[in-house]
Symmetry: C2
Subunit: 100 residues, 2 copies
DNA sequence: TCAATAATTAGATGATTGTCTAATTGATTA
DNA sequence: TAATCAATTAGACAATCATCTAATTATTGA
């Protein structure tokens, strides 16, 4: 959950996710949508990949990025549990202090 | 959306939200659940308040904190739109570069 | 095989963040 | 009114983060 929230806590990364909804793109195609250096975008893609939000596959000299929304299910569950009270899922790490 | 993701991007703050599901608490009651100084918790509460996730009301010398889940609806909408493709909501700020 | 292209890695830098202690504000009560 | 208690604000500090340029790796095509 930590890596997920971290990845989502940046407008550029969220925009990358939104871009990928329309279909897969390679790193260069993503980078040219932003007024930011390619290494910076590469770093953002790395964080998104660490969170499991995107998957990368090498295709020749290009690296293709695609959306993986299954990770969002965990977040969705956490979020929905706020509407239905008293069904709080566990937010790791280390809530042993909290749960007595 | 920025303040919301920022507020959620910390395990302590998410645990505070989880605590408040059971019912309102004042600042001291919240602080004593954590192995952290009271000013630090106060700061976390401030960020949660800025994001609209909690509301604070002064009651005598105590300050009561309560959960406000309506802000989460925006996030919920954004999240759900990933399941139903091609219904991307707008993620402010400044996506003028992207949407040409 | 070599030059060009795609992308990442390395390293640096300024800004933001989470935490602390000390000081302050405001309310209660002896 | 003075002491105590709840909570925040102020200010400092180390760690993390977003970004940049320069260098590196790997693939392609002439």
């Amino acid at each position: 959950m930590n890596l997920l929230f971290k990845a989502l806590n940046d407008p550029t990364r969220r925009q990358i996710l939104d871009l990928l909804r329309a279909g897969d793109l390679n790193a260069g195609e993503i980078a040219e949508q932003f007024a930011m250096s390619k290494p910076s975008i590469s770093h953002h893609l790395d964080l998104l990949r660490q969170a499991g939000l995107v998957e990368s596959t090498k295709q020749g000299q290009f690296i293709n990025y695609s959306l993986n929304t299954t990770v969002l299910d965990e977040l969705l569950g956490w979020l929905l549990s706020f509407q239905k009270p008293d069904t709080a899922p566990v937010d790791s790490p280390s809530n042993h202090l909290i749960n007595h």
